[in-house]
Amino acid sequence: MAITGVEEGRYNLREFLAVNGARVLEDKKSVFVGTGLPIIATTLAQKTHAPNLLMVFEAGGIGPQMPELAISVGESRTFYRAVAASSMHDVMSLSQAGYIDYGFLGAAQMDMYGNINTTVIGNHDLPQVRLPGSGGANDVGSFSQRLVIIIADQSKRTFVNKLDFLTTPGYLDGPGARERVGLPRGTGPYRVITQLGVYGFDEKTKRLQLVSLHPGISVEEVKENSSFEILIPDKVKTSPEPTKEDLRILRQEIDPAGIVLGK
């Protein structure tokens, strides 16, 4: 089954994911943004409930008011009408020092503790598929107070028991592990958004736990599309649907060419 509204053609999956990504972010907080859907979701949040959301880009853009979709996190759109066009050393140092509330990333593979892989599929030295590597992901996952991850294709292949390569730290092997290895205290993954639901992490075990199901999706589907056991609480909410205004902003203002969101 697909999400009801997608089935009915009211919006597409990417639009739904962008809206759910946006809803996680709060006003008057800072967010360190990765390429693709994270940029779209963050811009939508800024144009709806979070006008004072501070966007930070790894190449040095701080607090832009982006005029059109940025293709790269280093290009001129990322410091258009910004408060600063600075450097990577500056924004990474600010992140390490505690100025980033949310990090926002995509990923190829994730395990039950929210550790992610964006480096290789297969063996490191002669890989089946070579992916770009960490980029800024390891830094965002290490330094951001709360990490948000979007994976558009949850399946047994992407929700795995063991990652081919642990690029970016989630909760590593469980409670207390981040602090034990020396990562900043109190940081870690916060939400994971897929085509089936929105997830958080159980306070005690730091394992992935369902927070809300997308309309039309069942708990069974969530379980079937994972190699590891996902914790299911007694109460599961329904994920918010895009409003007409969300869709108007996404389609007319943020990505009119449908480059990320499609047509």
């Binding site: 990322t78 590597g133 009119p256």
Partner: protein
């Protein structure tokens, strides 16, 4: 002090800090002298087979493409490249077999445009080795340690991951906090290429955009080739010295190359040439396509000016300028439908 963990990645470009100082004392002149030269001269003089190279800017933004294409034209070999969000530059250098080793932070991808078919194929067939992994902050702090004349810089990223296991970093117990801390080793590229908005004939440079890693990279590279949109008078620099982000004494060559970042962006001047990038992404799906691209855009022309003519000349550059200033609609010719 006990070392808690050691990465197994190859330690690229590290030198003992005293050796690094000696090298600077012996090789970096403080003389205010005219360093203008040609792309051809700069590459043949400063890029040697086997060198560890690094390219400035970020991704497809503010990249010294004139130098990158010239390295291919001169068929330099066995280069090691810093994959510090290196995108088109790294992709063409790996695909053309100039670079056969990479230390990867972000490599083999074109951000929103997808993965790089050419350089990925070289890695997946063993023709290019990834000798170490790191992160973007991890890479730029390698430059920072080197520009500070230090053997390493401590940091709190990479910890607990395979990225660290495959890096050249070490982890020790911090004597102040008692917590584990990563030591990121210094890196001195043999030669770096940075494209700027303007500089004088001595190399004093201004950049009108985000600096990314270039403040640090310019200062740690042993040799620095600077390409510039425009050469300005030294008086112009001296009127606003606070705008100088790279001072002349770290610069070894200055080449005036208008549109020198094409097909990449130059902030405030011209945008990405998406059609050109799409052509490369499509051709580089096969080794024959890579050859076709290189034959057309690199080997059949003598210089960057002729390359620009092939890419549409003045008319195209004017369009890219309008795109930069939001006067033309976005295009994404590389986008896969569906």
């Amino acid at each position: 002090m006990a070392v808690l963990q050691e990465g197994t990645g190859e330690l690229i470009g590290w030198h003992d800090p005293d050796d690094a100082r000696d090298w600077v004392l012996k090789n970096k002149s403080r003389e205010l002298k005219d360093k203008t030269t040609s792309v051809k001269e700069a590459v043949s003089k400063f890029v040697r087979d086997g060198d560890f190279i690094a390219s400035g800017g970020f991704g497809h933004t503010r990249v010294s493409m004139a130098i990158i294409y010239e390295i291919i034209r001169q068929k330099k070999r066995n280069l090691i490249m810093a994959g510090k969000t290196a995108v088109h530059d790294l992709d063409v250098l790996v695909s053309s077999a100039c670079v056969n080793r990479v230390e990867a932070a972000y490599s083999f991808g074109h951000e929103l445009r997808g993965l790089s078919p050419g350089s990925r194929r070289m890695v997946q067939t063993g023709q290019c080795k990834v000798v170490a992994e790191t992160s973007n902050a991890g890479y730029q702090w390698r430059w920072l340690a080197a520009m500070m004349g230090l053997p390493f810089i401590p940091s709190r990223n990479l910890l607990g991951t395979d990225t660290l296991r495959y890096s050249s970093c070490k982890v020790i117990e911090d004597p102040f906090s008692g917590k584990p801390i990563t030591l990121i080793p210094a890196a001195y590229p043999d030669v770096a290429f940075i494209h700027v908005h303007r500089c004088d004939v001595y190399g004093n440079a201004q950049i009108d955009s985000n600096l990314v890693e270039d403040f640090e990279l310019a200062r740690c590279a042993r040799r620095l080739i600077m390409t510039t949109e425009k050469i300005v008078d030294n008086e112009f620099i001296r009127r606003q010295p606070w705008r100088t982000c790279i001072p002349f004494f770290v610069v070894d060559a200055v080449v005036e190359t208008p549109y020198g970042s094409h097909p990449c962006e130059m902030p405030g001047m011209y945008y990405y040439d998406e059609d050109h990038i799409a052509e490369w992404l499509s051709l580089s799906r096969t080794p024959e396509g890579v050859d076709e691209y290189l034959q057309k855009y690199v080997f059949s022309v003598d210089c960057f000016e002729d390359y620009l003519k092939l890419c549409g000349g003045v008319k195209r550059m004017r369009y890219l300028k309008r795109r930069e200033f939001l006067q033309e609609p976005m295009t994404a010719p590389w986008r896969k439908e569906g």
